[in-house]
């Protein structure tokens, strides 16, 4: 089915990066290894490599974002690409232009890669299906579906601290139902072969038949955190309080907010992660967010190297498919 194949070109190289689901373990490891080689670049005093010189990357954001957009922009610039930032919520769609119209207009400007964020699940797939064949799509978050670069930078961060995935128990805490980050993390963790993935939250925030994703569901934070190596806290959107899903921030924090007392159930060397932006006092206590076990700011730093890795891999597939028009498999 197109769903699994659309991410690859005819040579089997990664052409679009839309979802982790369906990617092979070795490919994820290649991404992490490539990111490792780029992480040196980002700390040098001259932070540029010429890999994407002459390429144009468009950050096409249909939904507001600061961190993701900024790190994509930095990643592209450090690879020497030209970067165009387009905030579509404020321009075209408010004038009634359809998504495809916007796309075709940008395509006419001869760009090489679109980094897309959209509030509808499947938007990145849709764009990848309809874009001109020489353009690559990177999914920077589509609805509640996927946020694969975030998941990869989280895997990178975990590997930096924990080395061997197969020994790990990872807990993801909070609003799993609406979280594209959690979905991509679950696919990445299960593909990389971790020992166990747990999701923890009230039933109203756990998607139905969540076990089919390959996770264990816990409703009690203490029980779920017992002996875990990695704790991933998810952001709780303020609008979730408006509906019937949760009674109050107060009760949520009491049951699912991460405090020193609850973190004590995890392994002593457990790390605490969060995709940000964090709500202090809602899902996480400040003392933990700023504490020694928090790797939250490291995640942001790693975001640049991981996005550089994915961009360079995707654009090198573009180059190789052009120099190899017969479609031989390398």
């Amino acid at each position: 089915m197109t769903y699994y194949n659309i991410q690859f070109d005819k040579n089997g190289c990664l052409k679009h990066f839309l979802t982790i689901e369906g990617l092979k373990r070795q490919l994820l490891i290649d991404i992490l290894d490539t990111a490792e080689s780029f992480s040196g670049v980002t700390t040098q005093s001259i932070k540029k490599v010429p890999l994407l010189r002459g390429k144009t990357v468009v950050n096409l954001f249909f939904e507001p974002s600061t961190r993701t957009r900024t790190t994509f922009e930095l990643a592209a610039k450090r690879l020497s690409a030209d970067v165009l930032n387009i905030n579509v919520t404020a321009s075209a769609t408010s004038k009634g232009e359809t998504l495809l119209d916007t796309l075709h207009n940008l395509q006419a400007m001869h760009c090489d890669m679109f980094v897309v964020r959209h509030d509808r699940g499947g938007a990145a797939h849709f764009i990848a299906q309809h874009v001109a064949p020489h353009i690559s799509i990177l999914n920077a978050g589509d609805g509640c579906h996927a946020h694969p670069t975030q998941a990869m930078l989280d895997m990178f961060t975990i590997r930096r601290h924990k080395k061997e995935f197969s020994q790990l128990t990872v807990a993801i805490v909070g609003d799993i139902l609406h979280s594209r980050v959690a979905r991509s993390q679950i696919h990445a963790l299960t593909t990389l072969g971790v020992n166990e993935v747990r999701v923890i939250g009230p039933e109203t925030l756990i998607p139905c038949e969540a076990e089919t994703l390959g996770v264990h569901v816990y409703h009690d934070l203490r029980e779920g955190l017992r002996d875990v190596d990695v704790v991933i806290m998810l952001r709780l959107q303020h609008e979730r309080m408006k509906g019937a899903l949760l009674p109050s921030e107060h009760e949520y924090f009491r049951l699912y907010g991460l405090t020193e007392e609850k973190l004590a159930y995890a392994k002593p060397d457990a790390i605490v992660m969060h995709p940000g932006p964090i709500n202090r006092g809602v899902e996480i206590d400040s003392s933990i967010a700023d504490g020694p076990r928090s790797v939250i700011l490291e995640q942001v730093t790693h975001g640049i190297a991981v996005r550089m890795a994915i961009m360079s891999m995707v654009l090198s597939a573009q180059t190789s498919s052009r120099s190899n028009p017969e479609g031989e498999i390398n």
Binding site: L100, G121, G143, R183, C208, T212
Partner: protein
Amino acid sequence: MRLRIINGRVIDPANSIDSVQDICIANGVIHAIGPSLGSASRDFTADREIDAENQICIPGLVDLSARLREPGHEHKATIASETRAAASGGITTLCCPPDTAPIIDTPAVASLIRNRAIAAGYAHVVPLGALTQGLKSEHISEMAALKEAGCAGVNNASRHINNAHVLRCAMEYAATQNLTVFLNPEDYWLRNQGCMHEGMVSTRLGLPGIPESAEIAAVARDLILIEQTGVRAHFCRLSTARAARMVARARYEGLPISADVSAHHLYLTEMDVSDFNSQCHITPPLRTQRDRDGLRASLARGTITAICSDHQPHERDAKLAPFSATEPGISALETLLPLSLRLVDEDILSLSDTIACLTHQPAKILGIHAGTLSIGANADICIFDPNHYWTLTAKTLLSRGKNTPFMDWEFKGKVTHTLLGGKIVYEWMG
């Protein structure tokens, strides 16, 4: 024109006919039907003879739900374009829901639709009147006037009726007018923002789900009100096995109810959405394989007595967006018969029972004289070649809506002739 159809295998479930017979047609009605070379056939002088050897002659299909998009949405389709497509699919009677623009809540709109269908001349169109004025679920409609204008029943299309008091009053009033209430059972609040079945696939795709309970809670409420009001009611487009079981039990207890299912709900499941295929964005949603099997079983047991197309043609742009931003529905007139015939190949239903679900049983639900080949009945006839394989393509699809998940599927069973009132309205030039 006097017509004779010879050598065809005639299947007319209403009259328990399944044998090779000749059909003689005069003045737009079935004049005689009998064994080949029998006296009735021999003595009939025909202007034209159709040789239906190795073909099957059945009553023209009666489709309980087809959006024709006229008036109001002519950019999607028109009565002329869709009735012509219906004729090519062997359908001679179409029932159209009231959610046109303007809505069918006045006799004028009902008459306009019927007159345009008559002018087009491809199929009979039977409108359903609005259950509530403007389908707003506040005031009941002028049901007596709608009935006089030819509406076969009343329906609120897919607009939810959240106020059970309004629904109860509408049912009581419809019962007074001896009108069938057609219900599309779905609870508005449980549906929430959902765009596909809530389950394994919606969890994977992160798309908002419509739980099974959205349908069964609505069926439960509606059954209570049907029992209290005594109205004759029909459940449109069941999508869950559990709702079908509830209808079966209520029928067993004697409630005057019936139910239908769309042909695509008998084939597709939530899995077909798994690549964000907007052609499978449908309301009610495609559900689990267990539901699909349960719906098939309900059809076999006779709980569900009609298969309809639930035809919803769209312009190309309506499906060109991320899944949840697309418009729901399938262009389905031309796949109704071949999809239904697959039930026979898969041993779910006999051929005769399948034809019954497409002809006299839906006609009975509508309370109209159609769907049979009785002497004196309108000569609405479909002739098809049961062994002809063909592939559905955008070019061959006559409907203006090319939105179908069955594009490029191979089907078995091809309509070769469709007769409406004794007139050939479709002839395959294969």
